[in-house]
Symmetry: C2
Subunit: 634 residues, 2 copies
């Protein structure tokens, strides 16, 4: 089943580099297994799942991780540079050529059955739990996130059709999409609107045969055209005639690039025309298309005028996927910085010579460089832990839904809805910071293309923009998730988290206990601060916008620290069992990193606690016309 | 004299863009005049200068600003995009082609006499004070900083030869460099060393005729080759035979691209061979060269083995120039964000509809967008004030030197030495943040090349790397400037700054007084914190490396806030005189921005005050081998 191995695709991408540290990537399986087996106990979790859990035995999971790692390390990682260098080429309205090797890697991915890993066997999937697909996406994103966009977007389309399509629609599309034979996209943004989908103006006209004719322009459609597959199924937001204005008048449609014949074979082109592909700062390997729908035939997905509601399923999943991109950039950048920091010599250590055999000391001996590396490591490891918690929750939600326990499913959905903007907003912002830290570790060499660091920053910069900017995540968290639900999500989160931290405190001693107790205080302060903001918001709605991004980042730092305490507790437990020498160093490193996070990152909350209470007038009192007197435009 | 005007060079660069807000740049003369006339009183300052001060009458200064603005806005700004798009082309070891229009713009610059603005008339300069050249560089950098590198590096070479060369060497080179007929560079970095110049290995062999043969490879030489001029004079660090190891054995040489005949005309090529130009993240318009010196004939600059000492003159100046790049990026990005924020509509304001005639409100009504804009504005305006203070100090130092008051000159030099790493480190880091904020304001459109925002970030990213990384600036400030001088610089700075703030407090009321008083407390705390760090450093030298970057940023935020209080005080004074309506809004905006800086940016010091005291063990205890267990390399 998992026949993928390193191939000649890797050699396609060999770019000359003067530095041997470049393009080093290894799937971080030791860290992943620590999380899955020691922090979270995925084996017990899988045993409890009726859907696919029985297949996810430790042996099988292990082999999935190993094969996924081989594919990422051997096939995807070497294509990362060529993807940026060559990019995608627009040929005509139906043709976009992806970078050399991308198509072949996708074929291997399809042959390995990876796209269907966590989809129902009914549609040709392998029926494993959701969480395994997210773990696989983590491994794959770290190696080559622009490539990972193609199967990633397709999963978004599969989920949308699976959740809201009729059985006929599912039969028509899902088999080929789950196998990977076709891909899919999500078409939301238009030139005049991105975040504000209320302004969507693409039209859908009902036809006598029950289909619809879709007309309008969509922009920024990731993987909207490529040469991987024969067909592409677009999920498109559009308006029916007479639909109410705003988001309550938006409907979702499935619009294939080529029509599908009754026997399932591919027919003619369907008025889905690529106008251009964007010339972007990064993610050159992933095509970003302007799509002109011109009387394209589409079919309804879900209910008329309920398109926005249907989209939310997809939006939460894709936001988690974007959090993976932020975390993965930290991982990728760290992996090429660490060897460099161990090879490059510059100046003597302040505390005295460390490498007398060299003309200067390895830069990993300098505190300034260590701080950059530790930031990256903290975001990669801590971010991964944050994401894997949500992966488990996703499994549990699917399980509750399958068992018809809708109350439980809703409860989990609420919790995921609360955590998702924190992960998306915080991990993408910190992923950008981590990638920038990677450039800094390399000094001037970090600015040179062949040394890879700058590409990682250019690529990950998009993660704080798409799937809702950080500003949108902040409003989603504080406005939509917390205030609209009368603080319930933060109250529940505080209860759950303080209980888990208390558990760590009573079962540990020393610094681990101290950190757990300190964090209980921080979490309670977080809740208290939320009450203050909510009270203020009741009479001053603008204050929500003033507070939201800082509140989001504040939440992110506390959440990251919580995950480090949980990892630290797992490490302490392992150390008590007396692991062998190398293993001992592994666990001690987790504890050292926890100390780092507490002393270096958690203090950001001191600043954020102040600025999330900045008076509204400070931000709003200056008239728009006073922003400049040299270049006004009014 | 100032014959420069907008020309056809502008049209060379017209790139198609779908958005009218793109590439809008106007020299911010209103802000510059506010600083020069109302915050700092440059007119009185110039009156006191014996060197060129008498020429710098308000009328002349005004006309220099206006003409400089026209050149930047009309000629340089439109070339910014084409510089990135086309970049520099390596042809052969003696030929690099700059982007279309760059050469013509340089010719105009030379014809206008701009390069000699602040150089002595003896060498063909115009003899104006130093500060005017820095103001001109501010205006020019904001418009097109990759282009500004060429004359900028040349100024570095001129200053070096002027300060340390023999009269014969000055006569040989300075006339043509001051006129701009030739340019110059600084050649420090080698493949194995950037920050750590102790490792320089380029050799200089004395010849019977008193010259030296220079052999070695230099990398990252900005503007090392181009098509602007017939000759390029490289200032090269190299080692004489038997020179002591480390920085005490480095000597400075002038090495022209082409030899110079006794009559001053240009002779043969001189063993100065360009190996390649770098493919970089940004500043594509500025060539970055690997130069192989192969038995190139050079002449001594200054004393043997004193090359490092001689370099410091240049290094301080160039670090201030880099601070200008950071500030200029904030200015440039702000200028293209502000019109966009006033034109783009998305969602309704939280406090209710603001633009009922539109399908949604202008995004400048959203607090999240305002915060991004205000960050940019604060770095541009506040950073400019920080730089102009140093520009005045530079004038005063030159004046003291000319008058033979070496004690005063040294005192000013100490103060400049203290302020420079703060400006360089803080303003480049915040310039990067401001450019990234610009992308964020544009949402997904910020990631698209044609919208310019991403170029500004790619370009300015280098500013935190060259002329010493932020980590180096931190060590320079805390280690070399403060601790090595037994805290004298911070004690003097505290005394001077609290006195200035007290002056604001007693002459103002209301929030201005409150902010001035609050800041006195902050400045005193800064000094107190420095004592604590110094005491710790006495027994734990590594703690300096742990603290330094956070200490630098801490210093930066307090310094920025001080400048806002000084600007605010000047604005209050103007308001008391009852300026006419539009002017009133200008001054009120300064006060609003000061409130912003206090409530939103100054709180960063709360976090930094904690992390600059992070225990050394938190950063240093983890063994290098424990940084990873998945991809170790030892």
């Amino acid at each position: 089943m998992f026949s993928i191995a390193a191939t000649t695709a890797a050699t396609v991408a060999r770019a000359a580099s003067r530095n041997p540290s470049v393009r080093h990537y290894t799937a971080p399986l030791r860290d992943i297994k620590f999380l899955m087996n020691e922090v979270y106990d995925f084996p017990s979790h899988y045993k409890k799942l009726s859907q696919g859990g029985e297949n996810a035995t430790p042996d099988i999971v292990d082999s999935i991780l190993e094969e996924s790692g081989k594919f990422a390390t051997g096939v995807l990682a070497p294509l990362y540079v060529v993807g940026d260098k060559v990019g995608c080429k627009y040929v005509d309205k139906h043709t976009v050529i992806t970078p050399p090797g991308f198509k072949e890697a996708y074929q291997q991915y399809v042959e390995g059955g990876w796209q269907g890993l966590s989809y129902p066997t009914k549609y040709g999937g392998q029926g494993f739990p959701q969480s395994l697909a997210l773990v696989q996406a983590d491994i794959s994103s770290g190696a080559n996130f622009p490539w990972t966009m193609y199967p990633g977007l397709s999963k978004g389309a599969i989920n949308t059709i699976y959740s809201h399509g009729t059985e006929a629609l599912k039969e028509k599309y899902l088999h080929k999409m789950v196998s990977g034979e076709w891909t899919g996209t999500m078409c939301l943004t238009e030139p005049q609107c991105g975040s504000d989908l209320a302004q969507v103006s693409t039209r859908a006209e009902p036809q006598p045969n029950g289909t619809y004719k879709i007309t309008g322009t969509k922009i920024f459609i990731s993987c909207g055209e490529h040469d991987f597959t024969e067909n592409i199924v677009h999920c498109v937001l559009a308006r029916l005639p007479g639909a109410p204005p705003g988001t309550k008048g938006i409907t979702l449609f499935a619009v294939p690039k080529k029509t599908v014949n009754p026997d399932g074979s591919v027919g003619d082109f369907n008025g889905v025309n690529i106008g251009r592909i964007e010339n972007k700062m990064g993610v050159h390997g992933s095509s970003t298309c302007e799509i002109n729908f011109e009387d394209a035939v589409g079919e309804l997905i879900g209910l008329p005028n309920k398109g926005m509601n249907h989209m939310f399923t997809f939006i939460n999943t894709s936001r988690l996927g974007t959090a993976v991109q932020g975390m993965g950039a930290a991982e990728r950048s760290y992996q090429t910085c660490l060897p460099y920091a161990k090879e490059r010599v510059s100046m003597r250590a302040l505390s005295g010579t460390k490498n007398p055999e060299k003309p200067a000391d390895y830069i990993i001996n300098h505190p300034g460089v260590r701080k950059l590396l530790m930031l990256q490591k903290a975001i990669a490891e801590g971010g991964r832990s944050m994401i894997y918690e949500c992966a488990m929750l996703a499994d549990e939600m699917v399980e509750a839904q399958a068992k018809g326990d809708l109350k439980k499913a809703e409860k989990i959905d609420d919790r995921l809805g609360f955590l998702t903007p924190i992960l998306k907003g915080f991990l993408t912002e910190k992923g950008i910071e981590a990638a920038s830290a990677g450039i800094q570790t390399w000094g001037g060499h970090g600015f040179i293309k062949e040394n890879l660091q700058e590409q990682i920053l250019r690529d990950v910069r998009i993660a704080a923009l798409w799937e809702g900017t950080t500003q949108i995540q902040g409003l989603d968290l504080l406005g939509r998730k917390i205030l609209l639900q009368k603080l319930k999500p933060i109250i529940n989160h505080t209860k759950l988290t303080t209980s888990k931290l208390w558990n760590v405190a009573v079962n540990n001693t020393g610094e681990t206990r101290t950190r757990a107790l300190k964090l209980i205080g921080k979490v309670l302060k977080w809740q208290a601060k939320t009450f203050v903001i909510a009270a203020k918001a009741a009479r001053d709605r603008e204050s929500v916008g003033v507070a939201s991004v800082d509140y989001l980042m504040y939440s992110g730092y506390i959440t990251l620290a919580c995950h480090y305490v949980f990892m630290e507790a797992a490490a302490q437990k392992a150390l008590e069992t007396g692991k062998m020498r190398e293993e001992k160093a592994f666990y001690e490193a987790k504890i050292h990193m926890s100390e780092y996070v507490f002393n270096e990152l958690l203090p950001h909350t001191e600043k954020l606690a102040i600025t999330m209470s900045t008076p509204t007038k400070t931000i709003m009192q200056m008239p728009a016309s006073s922003f400049s007197f040299d270049y006004t435009r009014e």
